[in-house]
């Protein structure tokens, strides 16, 4: 483990929470997308978290292994005034629920805060170590 290991571990946690917040922001921004019925709808994105495990030792934080894309089937709606509407007046919209995105956002935010709190703890401890012998 590197010097000041806790700082990099908490940093990886903050990064992961930030990635999650970014995907949620993207999902909410694209909630009202409209696509043609012969095209795929926007699929809600979610990060895939993986622990940086070290066997027999304290782990080294978290990594975002990738971004998982949700169902692109979406919902077919009747909206004849849309420029994307087909001959029957149908369009495809994303199946993204605002409520679940908001719940995820609260979780991601709490995650972020918990990691910054751990970061502050580690900083205080390391600062006290720097007073040794003074």
């Amino acid at each position: 483990m590197s010097l000041f290991g806790s700082l990099s571990i908490s940093g990886s946690g903050v990064d992961a929470a930030q990635t999650w917040l970014n995907t949620i922001a993207g999902n909410i921004a694209n909630m009202n997308d409209v696509s043609k019925t012969d095209q795929a709808a926007y699929g809600a994105q979610a990060p895939v978290f993986m622990p940086n495990a070290i066997p027999g030792q304290v782990g080294d934080g978290v990594a975002v292994a990738g971004i998982q894309e949700g169902d692109t089937t979406g919902i077919v709606q009747y909206d004849p005034t849309s420029p994307q509407a087909d001959a029957q007046g149908l369009v495809r919209v994303p199946d993204v629920q605002l409520s679940s995105q908001m719940v995820n956002m609260i979780q991601a935010q709490t995650d972020f805060q918990a990691n910054t709190s751990a970061l502050a703890d580690a900083k205080t401890a390391y600062q006290s170590a720097l007073t040794l012998g003074t």
Binding site: M1, G5, S6, I9, S10, S12, G13, A16, W20, F49, M50, P51, G56, Q57, V58, G59, D60, G61, V62, Q107, A108, T110, D111, A114, N115, S117, A118, L119, D121, A122, T124, A125, S128, A129, T131, L132, G133, T134
Partner: protein
């Protein structure tokens, strides 16, 4: 005197590892299937101190026995945050103890006690 310094030195390093485990558990609060880690050293250190001919203390990393939630993760954020605070205070206390020992040495060798 030497025993105190080496015991404190060991404990400071061990608490730093506890803090790393707490940071790691908090970083993985939303990782599916993640099992939290516990770091313990207190019993081992006590045994080493009590041993008549001096013993060797070890730091043990073990899995958190808490039951997992529906996503297979068993980290409780609140517990970890409390642990983080506790470890920081413990760390600071031990650093202060080490400094007190160093001041004693400095004072008794002609330097300043403060």
């Amino acid at each position: 005197m030497d025993g105190i310094v080496s015991a404190l030195q060991f404990a400071v390093n061990a608490v730093a590892q506890q803090q790393q485990a707490t940071a790691n558990n908090l970083a993985n609060t939303d990782t599916p299937g993640f099992t939290g880690q516990d770091v313990s050293f207190e019993q081992s250190l006590q045994q080493a101190i009590d041993a008549p001919n001096g013993g060797t203390a070890t730091v043990t990393v073990s899995a958190d026995p808490a039951p997992p939630a529906s996503n297979g993760n068993n980290v409780d954020t609140a517990t970890q945050l409390v642990n983080g605070q506790q470890e920081t205070l413990q760390y600071q206390t031990m650093v202060e103890m080490l400094n007190a020992q160093f001041r004693l040495v400095a004072g008794s060798t002609g330097g300043s006690f403060t």
